[in-house]
Each structure stands twice: as structure tokens, then as C-alpha cells.
């Protein structure tokens, strides 16, 4: 079994639902309360079933998924988060330099929900496939 690619992840209804729920939870219409939300996408290495773990609430423009919870029999295959700050106020909706660097460092794709849709960065699939550490690949 191979690790899912970005295209396969974005076509998965569980991932789609997670991205949309994170977007709603990030309160993009609330000037004072908007903040980044997101989490981790796991794949069960035996069944191939995808599951989601949300990460703690984050800051306005910073999000931490660097210490993923261990899910028995599963490995992390992607991270996801929102960019809720509006283009109209000068914010860039796409991946930041740090989004790309961290995705390359952690070894899994980074999925981003912003006001203009979905953006992605980092590797196309988990580095090294479904083997290795249960969290991020080594």
C-alpha cells in the first residue's frame, strides 16, 4: 500500500470535511476572533482508512502540528490548517515560506484552506511511504 498523494487526499471526503470544518472553526468573518485551525491526516497502514486528529487552537497566523498524537496502527500522511485572514486586508492566502519549509522538514504534504480555496505545499506524499515512525517520517 502506498501513501496517498495530495490529489488523493483532496479527493477524500473525510479530508474535505476536515478542511471545511477547520475553516468554519477558524472564524474567518470574525475580525477579533479569527485564528488558524487544523490538524493531522492519518492512514491506517493495514486497512488504508483515513482518520483525522485536530490540533489545539492556534494563533492568528501560526499553527503547531509538530508533536502529533500517536494513533495505533496509523501514520501521519499530511497536515492541514487554515489561512483565515482576508486578502482584502493584505494577507496572502497561499503557503508561507515557513509552511513550505516545515512541510519539507516534517516530510508530509501541507494542505491549506483559505478564502480563495485550497492550497498545498511540501512533498506530494509522505516521505518514505507508510513505513517508519508512527508520527512524521524520520
Amino acid at each position: 500500500m502506498n501513501a496517498p498523494t495530495i490529489a488523493e487526499l483532496l479527493a477524500n471526503p473525510i479530508v474535505q470535511q476536515a478542511l471545511e470544518q477547520a475553516w468554519v472553526d477558524s472564524l474567518p468573518q470574525d475580525v477579533a476572533g479569527r485564528h488558524e485551525e487544523g490538524g493531522l491526516v492519518y492512514v491506517d497502514t493495514t486497512t488504508g482508512v483515513i482518520s483525522i486528529q485536530r490540533a489545539p487552537v492556534a494563533g492568528r497566523a501560526v499553527f503547531d502540528v509538530s508533536a502529533p498524537p500517536i494513533v495505533a496502527g496509523s501514520v501521519v500522511v499530511a497536515t492541514f490548517h487554515t489561512h483565515p485572514n482576508p486578502i482584502a486586508e493584505g494577507w496572502e492566502p497561499g503557503p508561507s515560506t515557513s509552511d513550505t519549509l516545515s512541510a519539507d522538514l516534517l516530510g508530509v504534504p501541507c494542505l491549506i484552506r483559505a478564502e480563495d480555496g485550497i492550497h498545498t505545499t511540501g512533498p506530494d506524499l509522505r516521505r518514505g511511504g507508510l513505513t517508519g515512525n508512527p508520527g512524521f517520517p524520520a
Binding site: V62, S96, S98, D99
Partner: protein, 83 residues
């Protein structure tokens, strides 16, 4: 010999990096509220002071503000908010 009183002939002082940082930080705090996750790099280039906020922890997702500050007037010439 007396000094000229014509304002157009007076030399304008260039701002230093601390002043450029203060201008950038005032704007950044309004947009980001909390800058504790960032380290700041200030470099003077031909087009002004470049003030760049980058995340301290390379494993974090997110982004910081990036400015070019006029080295003569301290005006913000350009800014970019990463998230």
C-alpha cells in the same frame, strides 16, 4: 557666510534600523497581535530597510510580516502579510 534658510536645500537625515523596526513593529502588532513566535531580520538595501519576521521554530506552520521601510522618511514602501 550664513547658512541657507531654504528648506529645499536642507539635508534630510536617514533613519536608523531601530526606527525602521519601530515602524514595522507598530504595524505588525496591529495585524498579528502577538510577535513572540518570530525572529526579526533587518537589512538596509538600496530600496530601503527590509524588515522580515520569520518563525523561530522551523517546524511551525505560519508566516510573518515583511516590510520595506523608506530609509529617509520611514514610510512603509511595501508590506506583505504571510499566514
Amino acid at each position: 557666510m550664513s547658512a541657507s534658510s531654504n528648506p529645499s536645500t536642507l539635508e534630510q537625515s536617514a533613519i536608523d534600523g531601530a526606527r525602521a523596526l519601530a515602524v514595522a513593529q507598530a504595524d505588525a502588532l496591529k495585524a498579528y497581535r502577538d510577535l513572540s513566535s518570530y525572529r526579526v531580520q533587518i537589512v538596509q538595501e538600496d530600496d530601503g530597510w527590509h524588515v522580515d519576521y520569520e518563525l523561530k521554530d522551523a517546524r511551525l506552520k505560519g508566516g510573518g510580516p515583511h516590510y520595506v521601510i523608506d530609509a529617509m522618511t520611514s514610510a512603509i514602501l511595501s508590506k506583505r502579510y504571510e499566514q
